[in-house]
């Protein structure tokens, strides 16, 4: 005690006792716990990325890989009016659409009659690029299956009618979505005028997911081209700004402006 400096107080001594107690009775090893937590974190991230990658790839392997005649190749858009003679300088109207996307239904309700007229009279080359944004954000595969089934309807020459039956139905039901099952697709095809042997072929096409690979390719290609949201309408590659072009009349005007 005599050797201790005079300043040593009871609290200092208590602190030393505490420190000694801690040194001997450390409790859990911080380095060990830190290492374990870091390892778990690394494994979780790596495993999660691998699982995500594998599940995406395995779903990509399912279904068929047929290319619709009106598209020509994987990733290319589906031309809805291939048989119409285009007027000179008519622009290309690219519509990026997801069957499940509510905003697409709203845009459809406003612009579709005009779009149909423009396409029929050859004022635009109408090209659909089907996307599966909602599948990606909310899960499920109805965006994919609906778009794929529309390509089956195109095989029967009824794409436009089929597309209208489904989207008009949603718009008339105030945005309420159907169940997107095979029965719904089949009933819609029948309403669109596909009957008999053609309807059987349609059902078969839907069952085997013949165009699933093609729809994945348009989703992928449009994302690479920077289109990650739906609906996106482009006139000769220029995105139509719906905040200014918000009526059918203004849309016709935009088409005229894009006509060369």
């Amino acid at each position: 005690m005599g050797k201790q400096p005079k300043t040593t107080s009871t609290t200092d001594r208590q602190a030393k006792i505490d420190a000694a107690a801690k040194a001997t009775k450390q409790g859990p090893n911080k380095i060990l716990i830190g290492t374990v937590v870091a390892l778990i974190a690394i494994i979780a991230v790596v495993a999660g990325v691998i699982i995500a990658d594998q599940s995406t790839r395995s779903s990509e392997a399912s279904g068929g890989d047929a290319v619709p005649a009106a598209a020509g190749e994987m990733g290319a858009g589906f031309v809805a009016n291939p048989d119409v003679t285009l007027q000179p300088g008519a622009p290309t109207l690219d519509i990026y659409e997801d069957f499940r996307c509510p905003a697409c239904h709203q845009a459809y309700a406003v612009f579709h009659p005009t779009v149909t007229d423009l396409a029929d009279e050859g004022s635009v080359r109408l090209v659909y690029h089907f996307k599966t944004v909602i599948d990606g954000n909310s899960g499920g595969d109805a965006s994919l299956k609906a778009a794929s089934s529309a390509m089956c309807a195109a095989d029967a020459g009824r794409f436009t009618e089929y597309h209208e039956v489904i989207l008009d139905g949603i718009v008339q039901n105030g945005g309420t979505q159907p169940n997107w099952g095979p029965d719904f697709f089949s009933a819609s095809a029948e309403q669109a005028g596909i009957t008999g042997a053609e309807l059987e072929a349609f059902d078969q096409c839907v069952a085997e997911g013949r165009y699933d690979g093609y729809i994945r390719s348009t989703e992928e290609q449009s994302a690479r081209d920077g289109v990650n949201g739906t609906p996106t309408y482009k006139l000769n590659g220029e995105t139509v700004d719906f905040s200014t072009v918000n009526t059918p009349e203004l849309f016709v005007q935009a088409v005229e402006n894009a006509t060369e």
Binding site: A44, V45, G48, S55, G136, G226, N228
Partner: protein
């Protein structure tokens, strides 16, 4: 003498410490909670998460895809660590770095005239020009980054595993 002084000198300090510890707890729960929520909304939809990152057009397409797969998991891990108060400072540093990167990404998208949803809590991709919410998203991320900054400077907080498991002060 000391015994009469003890209450008058220590109680205010103790009270102040407890308040600062409480602020630490709130900072942990806010930053950790938002990271956990953000991760949870995206982790089961990796394709959507990948598309949200791709929409920023900052990284090459494939790189953005893998960032999109990994990000929700990283957010969940950091969120859980912060909520538990385990390795608070390390988790806060990483969480703050994430928030700063988000702010840079959003500001960059804004500056380049992209009209995208931030994809913070699911969603993502292009939206109408009036629906981008860039200022609001940046303001939120600044607030979360400040929570992180507090914890980097003063990781001590109430009800933390750092204290109760690792016996840190």
């Amino acid at each position: 003498m000391t015994e009469t002084l003890t209450p008058s000198t220590e109680t205010p300090t103790l009270g102040r410490t407890r308040i600062l510890d409480l602020v630490g707890l709130v900072a942990r729960l806010v930053l950790g909670g938002v990271l956990l929520y953000a991760g949870a909304t995206k982790v089961l939809t990796p394709v959507g998460s990948a598309r949200a990152v791709q929409a920023y057009q900052i990284f090459p397409f494939e790189v953005a895809q893998y960032i999109g797969y990994a990000l929700p998991i990283v957010e969940i891990i950091l969120g859980v660590l912060l909520i538990l108060g385990l390795f608070t400072r390390t988790a806060a540093i990483l969480g703050t770095v994430l928030m700063v990167l988000f702010i840079v990404g959003i500001a960059s998208a804004w500056a380049r005239g992209l009209t995208i949803d931030c994809g913070c809590f699911g969603g993502g991709g292009e939206v109408a020009p009036g629906e981008t919410q860039y200022p609001r998203r940046i303001a939120e991320d600044v607030a979360f980054a400040l929570c992180g900054l507090w914890l980097i400077v003063r990781p001590r907080s109430l009800l933390s595993l750092d204290r109760h498991l690792l016996r840190r002060p």
